[in-house]
């Protein structure tokens, strides 16, 4: 037999505890203010700024390093179009569930820094008003050319044009990628390097096998060399010529050595 109204009083005790607790207990008041609200600066669309500034700005528009919103195109250090990784193979376009990507292949091949000549995307549009950030394009890309950005403040006053991100809006440097998703970026680069090294080692091994008949004993040396090269390749690309002003710990100089296991590429890439 309970006291009359005891349930109500218990409930009121809980709310009182929460009321008082919200002033003292961080657990009870988990709300954070927007970064830009703290210093009374209105957010601007990153696309309105010159590239370097935009990349700095995205500090304030990134929530956590894990949040992934809308795809972007990666390029290595240097002039974006010279180092873009995308070869316009159009797999992502085909696999995109809401069909928001449009790619036009370039007519001629173009030399990339350090790589052999490849096609490049003449047009690469993503309609972010349709994109649902499902990351299937990232998953199916065989060249690690498309990764997820983390900008979410993309509201614009107009419905046309500005929500259709063009190729130049989408091109982002690897440094920027390191900045917004450090763990993921280093893991990805490590994997790329490993794959490259494995490939080269294989190639070397094959060559060595050919030469084996002639020079059997040089095999071990070649492998040691391959290993060395793999280590060299695992270092990410050099920083861009004009590094962001406030990028204090540029990850490119010293990549965070967090060996996160990155998923193998799966899904259909037919």
């Amino acid at each position: 037999m309970s006291v009359l109204g005891s349930g109500i009083f218990k409930g009121m005790a809980v709310t009182l505890k929460n009321f008082v607790g919200s002033y003292f207990d961080k657990e009870r008041l988990t709300t954070n203010e927007y970064a830009w609200q703290a210093n009374d600066k209105l957010p601007e669309r990153a696309g309105d700024y010159p590239k370097e500034e935009a990349e700095q700005l995205s500090d304030t528009t990134t929530v956590t390093q894990y949040s992934r919103n809308f795809p972007m195109l990666l390029h290595d250090a240097g002039e974006p179009m010279d180092t873009v990784r995308c070869v316009a193979c159009q797999i992502c376009e085909r696999e995109c569930p809401p069909q928001c990507i449009y790619i036009e292949k370039s007519t001629e091949k173009k030399e990339r820094s350090g790589n052999k000549a490849q096609f490049y995307p003449a047009t690469f549009d993503i309609d972010v008003s349709v994109c649902m950030s499902c990351q299937i394009c990232v998953e199916v890309c065989p060249f690690d050319a498309i990764v997820m950005n983390s900008q979410f403040e993309l509201s614009t006053p107009s419905r046309f044009g500005e929500l259709l991100l063009r190729r130049d809006d989408l091109l982002k440097s690897n440094d920027y990628y390191y900045k917004i998703h450090p763990e993921e970026a280093s893991a990805r680069d490590k994997r790329i390097a490993d794959e490259k090294a494995a490939k080269e080692a294989k190639k070397k091994a094959a060559e060595a096998a050919k030469k084996k008949a002639a020079e059997a004993k040089s095999k071990s040396e070649a492998e040691a060399k391959a290993k060395e090269e793999a280590e060299a390749a695992s270092k990410p690309t050099e920083p861009s010529d004009t590094p962001p002003a406030e990028s204090t710990a540029t990850p490119s100089t010293e990549p965070p050595a967090t060996p996160t296991t990155e998923p193998e590429k799966e899904g259909s890439a037919e």
Partner: protein, 389 residues
């Protein structure tokens, strides 16, 4: 003579018209802040006073929010639904504000510093102040009905019907619990009631007074449509009840009327049970009376906000049952308890009698409440839950 009359009228009404709407504005802010904190949010904290036209502002924990709300309400479009009764749709918010404003005059609030040291100013000096209060509060019902009927909306109509039934029902325990005080004091005059409680002789410190206060407070919650009795505006059931179709300043007037009614009824509760302006230091500084009075009102409002943040609402039949089957018998019993206490009062053996009165009253009232609760509570089987593998 005419000039004197106008001066008197102004002196009597202007302070009330300044104090209570200001308190209303602050209360909306406090309520939002307090509810936010109860719900582990921050609440409004941005709107402040702009310092220069080019930027920079004084936030003051979002104290500018009521002003911003008011401005927003003023400039919103006034929408009258097609098929609505335009005249009544317009009159209803005004009619809901007038009674709540009017009853403020019956509170024992006088402003001593306004008209010289001796002549304190008071709006009304009526013998039947308490009963006047209830009569005029009852008029609110009509405004609610008007709003509900004139909107030509089924939800509004349902809300209006609920509101009328609720207000009519809860007026009875409200009046009956006030009767106890009237009976003991022997006057309907608010000033006499206040005078009877000077010092620390607040009626809430009597057993019957405590019971009557609790009943009165519950009734007051229902009269002002506050949670858990906010059925006429239950947003999960009937959208916003009788003011579903109101927008802009008309809605603001309803809002204002509702909060002023809250102040008024809390003011009456303070007058009847919490010693009106009594408090430490009132003998030397007469204006402290007003301070204490308003402080007590604010505490009651705070409890209302707290309840709003905690409780879900009742159902219509439960609400009516609670008024008629629980509060009404209890308040009638309380009248007898008060009579009994008054009857055996003995100046010679004050401590002994008061102890007897306390124990007897509490036992009687609690047993009655418990019994009523048991009778009224719906019969349900006790629940047991099993775990299957």
């Amino acid at each position: 003579m005419t000039l004197d009359l106008i001066k008197d009228i102004l002196l009597a009404t202007v302070p009330l018209l300044i104090i209570f709407p200001t308190m209303f504005a602050l209360t909306t802010w406090v309520e939002r802040k307090a509810l936010a904190r109860i719900q582990n949010r921050i609440g409004p904290n941005k709107v402040g006073v702009p310092l220069t036209p080019y930027g920079g502002k004084l936030s003051l924990f979002g104290l500018g929010q009521p002003a911003a709300d008011g401005i927003k309400m003023l400039f919103k479009e006034n929408i009258v639904p097609t098929g609505a009764d335009r005249l009544f749709h317009f009159l209803a918010p005004i009619l809901s504000l007038i009674p709540s404003m009017l009853v403020l005059c019956f509170l024992p609030l006088d402003f001593p510093w306004l008209n010289g040291e001796q002549n304190s100013v008071k709006a009304f000096m009526l013998d039947g102040a308490v009963i006047f209060f209830f009569a005029i509060t009852g008029l609110n019902t009509l405004a609610v009905f008007m709003a509900g009927w004139a909107s030509r909306n089924k939800y509004s109509l349902l809300g209006g019907m609920r509101a009328i039934a609720q207000m009519v029902s809860y007026e009875i325990p409200l009046v009956l619990s006030a009767v106890v005080v009237v009976m003991i004091v022997g006057s309907l005059n608010a000033d006499n009631i206040a005078k009877a409680q000077e010092g620390w002789n607040w009626f809430v410190f009597q057993p019957w007074g405590l019971a009557a206060f609790v009943i009165f407070f519950i009734g007051a919650l229902a009269e002002t449509n506050r949670s858990p009795f906010d059925l006429p505006e239950a947003e999960s059931e009937i959208i916003a009840g009788y003011f579903t179709e109101y927008s802009g300043f008309k809605f603001a007037l309803f809002f204002l009327g509702e909060y002023i009614a809250m102040f008024a009824i809390s003011g009456l509760a303070v007058t009847l049970f919490l010693g009106a302006g009594a408090g430490p230091g009132v003998e030397s500084l007469s204006w402290l009376k007003i301070f204490w009075f308003l402080t007590k009102v604010c505490i009651l409002i705070g409890v209302m906000i707290w309840l709003r943040g905690t409780l879900p609402r009742l159902r219509v039949d439960q609400l009516m049952g609670f008024a008629w089957k629980f509060l009404l018998p209890l308040s009638i019993l309380n009248i007898f308890v008060a009579g009994f206490a008054w009857h055996i009062k003995d100046a010679n053996k004050e401590t002994a009698t008061s102890v007897v009165v306390w124990i007897a009253s509490i036992i009687i009232l609690y047993a009655a409440a418990k019994g009523l609760d048991r009778v009224n509570r719906a019969k349900v089987k006790p629940r047991t839950y099993q775990y299957g593998e």
